[in-house]
Each structure stands twice: as C-alpha cells, then as structure tokens.
Symmetry: C2
Amino acid sequence: MPNVHIYKQFDTDLEAVRARVLEMGGLVEEQVGKSIDALISGNVTLAEEVIANDHRVNSLEVACDEACTHIIALRQPTAGDLRMILTIVKTITDLERIGDEASKIARYAVKIFENDRITSPRYTEIKYMAGLANKMLRESLDAFARLDISGAAGVARQDIEVDEEFQKIMRHLITYMMEDPRTISTFIDLLFVVKAIERIGDHAKNMSEYVVFMVKGKDVRHTTIEELERELL
Amino acid sequence: MPNVHIYKQFDTDLEAVRARVLEMGGLVEEQVGKSIDALISGNVTLAEEVIANDHRVNSLEVACDEACTHIIALRQPTAGDLRMILTIVKTITDLERIGDEASKIARYAVKIFENDRITSPRYTEIKYMAGLANKMLRESLDAFARLDISGAAGVARQDIEVDEEFQKIMRHLITYMMEDPRTISTFIDLLFVVKAIERIGDHAKNMSEYVVFMVKGKDVRHTTIEELERELL
C-alpha cells in the first residue's frame, strides 16, 4: 500500500528509482539466463554478449546509488521511506554482484568451449540448478516490486535446495575427474560455474531478506527459516 | 579533516558508529588470520572458535546498520556526512561477507583435518596469499579510519596480485590432483579455501573504493587502476 506523502515530489523520485531497480533486476535475470544458455549450447557469441553487457548492469547500479543519495539529501525521508531507500541501496549491491557472477559464467563458457568442446553429462543438472537460482531472483524482485513478504520463507527454502544441488553436482564432477584425470581442469572450470550459481542463490536470498526489513522494519538476515516463518505470520 | 557540525550530537553519533565499524573490522581481520592459522596448523579448536565467533560479526553488522538508519532519520545529514553514512552501510556489508569467508575457511580446516590430516605442500603459498588479502583488508580499514585515499590504487594493485596467486595455486593443486586422483576431494576443499581468500581480497578492494567515494564524492567502483590513479592525483 503506497503511503500518501506530503511532498508529492518524493513519491515521484521514489517511483523513478524503484523502476530503475526493477529494470536492473530484469537485466540481471536476463544476463543469468543467457550465460547459462551460452554455456549449455556452446554459443560463444551469446557468452560474449553477456560479458559486454555487464557494464550496463554496473551503470544502473551507479545511477540508482546516486538517485538514492539524492533522495535522502533532498527529501530527508524517515521511517518506512528511509527503510525503502536503504533497502534499494543494499539490493542494487547484490544485483550488481549477481551480474558479476553471470559474466563470470559467460567467461567460463567461452573458455570451456574453446579449450575442450565438451558436452558435459551434468548440463541437465546445472540447468536445473540455474533455473532454481533464477527463480529465487525473480521471486525476490517480485517481492520487492509488490512489497510482499509472503514468499520470503519460500526463497530461503529454495536457497537450501540450491546448496544441496551444488553439493550433488560437485560430487558428480569429482567422480568424473577421478575416472579421467585429463578432464580435471575442465571440470574445475565447471565447478566454478556451479559455485557462481550457488552464489546467485545467496544474493537472491539476501534481497528477499531486505524486503522483509523494508516491510516489517525487522532485520532477518541472520535468523533461521523457523524464526523467519514466525516473523512472517 | 573533520567538519565542524552545527549539531554536536551528530558528531558524537557519527564517531560512535565509526568506532563500531573499526571494531567490526578488527574482529573480521582477526577471524581471517585465525582461520588460516587453524588450517595450516590443523588446530580444530581454533577453527571452531572462528566458527563460533561469526555471530559476533553479524551482530556488529546489524548494530551498525541500525545506528546508520537512526542517524539518517534523526540528523538528516547531507553532502559529505551523508556519504560517510552510506559508505558505512556498504562497508559493513563487505565486512560481514569477509567474516562469512573466514568462517567458511574454518569449516574447511576442520573437514580437511578430520578427513585427511594432509600436510599440503601448498600451505606456504596459501599463507602468503592470505597474508596479502588480510593486508588489503587492514589498509582499507586504515584508509577508512584516516579518510586517506592515497593507498586506494595500491589496494587495487594488490587485488591483482591476489588474483594471480589464486591462479597459480589452482594450477599447482590441479597438478597434484592429476598425479594422485585419490586426493581430488581434499584438494577441491583446499581450492575453495583459496577461492574464499580471493573473495576476501575483492571485498577489501570494494571497501577501499567506498573510501574514495566518501572522500571525493566520486564513484570509482567500475574504473581501471589507471583511471583510479588519475582520480587520486
């Protein structure tokens, strides 16, 4: 529910920066999806597009950051409005780092394709795991857009699943390495891809926790899922 | 140079939160050092101490965050003061994540010691790399404490060295894995330790860039070292 502000200009400024964050979120989600597609299909052009687009993510972060500083200095928000601005400042930091992970995955995609042209038997698993992480990202962005915290525990639970997938894929990759030590380098590259996906999940979880802070004014970053669920009741 | 504020209470509040950040920084630096010591000496008790102390890092983050929100809402800072507060908000996020990496290293230390009791021939290199990363952290904290940006390019340059060390150690670990595939699991754990150290360097570099933003009002997060050096002239 939007508050009615004495200063209409504040609402306009806030809406503008919120729209920017969602634009940045959409771009980052796209970067993640494309980096994984590039890896799986061995599409080097697509991977290079992801790497080239990382600067757009960075520019949006800088622009949002400046807009937030401007709003605080000029409009001097308090309470819920201030929490919203501080949430944005934190959210864009995590979004920028997800962007970094996508561009890291794209660089590995190029390297793996150019060196080895492997068709990894683990790509189905990696695609599934990346789909989970990107779903967490989308749900966190939706929660931010609609100020809706009902999905926060769900995102936290999906993060556990992403971590479990990471462990599972890692065990499989280790088995391949042991069977054929010549593949070790390539599978270690793939391991770092999986690690990057795992981190995307962590960042998405952070973002969903910021939304809880924004809506409830309660810091739930270092709580268990059970505590979080109680908080959301 | 400290500004003279119309509201003396603002200075007092700001000093209190700055002291808190430095306390958090000192604790995090200690956590990193201890986690590496635990790994190298196989001291499980020390590793468990690091893991147990992570909650202290988290609590300091939450406390600093609350203090910053409070200062903005009550004192409505603008210009340099506002930049200082926003710098603190970002700095503590990176400090908290360095704390996470330290506790991750400590968990690997326990696992490696309990499963394998290896004495890795790479521990000298890992110790050297961790020393570099912790030096970056200390220099970033000093820069923050003294509002001194003269070391920012140095920190950025050390980050390149940390990344190079990471690549070098990774290549060595891969050689070991290829020589004796039974060691793959353990050396992958060690690889994640080295990855954690590399990330500590990244976070320290972020922190030193925030100090430049705080002092010069210029966002240098996505610039090259050469651009950064020009900015610092």
